[in-house]
């Protein structure tokens, strides 16, 4: 009788030689190591670790785990920011996003961090330009109101 290492429940299917877990470690140069581990946790405990380890079922009793080596992940180039934001702002923006990426990799995993980097960079570009438009609109409103910035000034003057 085999018990789960994590929750202590009895594993329903008996792990045979075929019931093993394959862990892949992908290196930055494209090579990949495979390591077989005997299944000693139940399916539900394995699935609970989904956030850390990506999984997919290969057969009914065999779980295939895929783990990407996170430590050597390079941050994305961020060419969209270089392309669409003025250079003096793009420098800082890109650097900060890359710092954020380095912080996200151990927290969310490389793939999710990469996705977040892209989402945040697109959001930053859109917000940068929308903010610029809003500033110009504020300026227009300022001139339209005869050089009075807010209601309090207007009340004081008139």
């Amino acid at each position: 009788m085999t018990k789960c290492d994590s929750c202590g429940k009895v594993i329903r299917f008996l792990p045979s030689e075929k019931d093993k877990l394959t862990e892949y470690t992908t290196h930055t140069d494209g090579t990949r190591d495979e390591r077989y581990i005997r299944v000693s946790i139940c399916t539900w405990c394995a699935l609970r670790e989904e956030g850390r380890v990506r999984w997919s079922f290969q057969r009914k009793s065999i779980l295939r785990f895929r783990k990407i080596e996170d430590a050597n992940q390079k941050p994305p180039k961020g060419f969209l920011i270089d392309l669409l934001v003025p250079p003096d702002r793009a420098d800082d923006m890109l650097l900060e996003l890359q710092k954020g990426f380095e912080r996200w990799v151990p927290k969310y995993g490389a793939r999710c961090a990469r996705r977040m980097f892209i989402t945040h960079s697109i959001g930053s570009i859109i917000r940068f330009w929308i903010d610029g438009i809003l500033k110009r609109l504020d300026l227009l409103k300022f001139f339209a109101s005869g050089g009075v910035s807010d209601e309090r000034d207007r009340a004081r003057l008139f």
Partner: protein, 115 residues
Amino acid sequence: MISKLEELILFAVLRGSGSATASDVQAALSDATKKEQSFGSVFTTLDRLSDKKFVKWRKGEPDGRRGGRAPRLYEITGAGRKALDEAVRATHIAAGGTKSLEPWGAPPLPLPIRR
């Protein structure tokens, strides 16, 4: 009066003690709100605060690579500190407190009364 996001960002810049980067501010906000704050809102809010002269920035040291990028280091100004004080005091009063709150430690000494 400043918004809540501006208030939180000013607090994060204040905690950075003169060399807070946008990444530090975003991390502090994410910790405070328990939710990953978007970098876009942090950048635009810092720009707006800089326009209002509540924070000022200077270029930091560029990273070691060739053509390395230099981060912006933000620092709170006197006007920013005052705006933050006002915002904290307003929140405190709205929550039912008294006017004598000093968020930066001990309450100030009472001014001498001239007769």
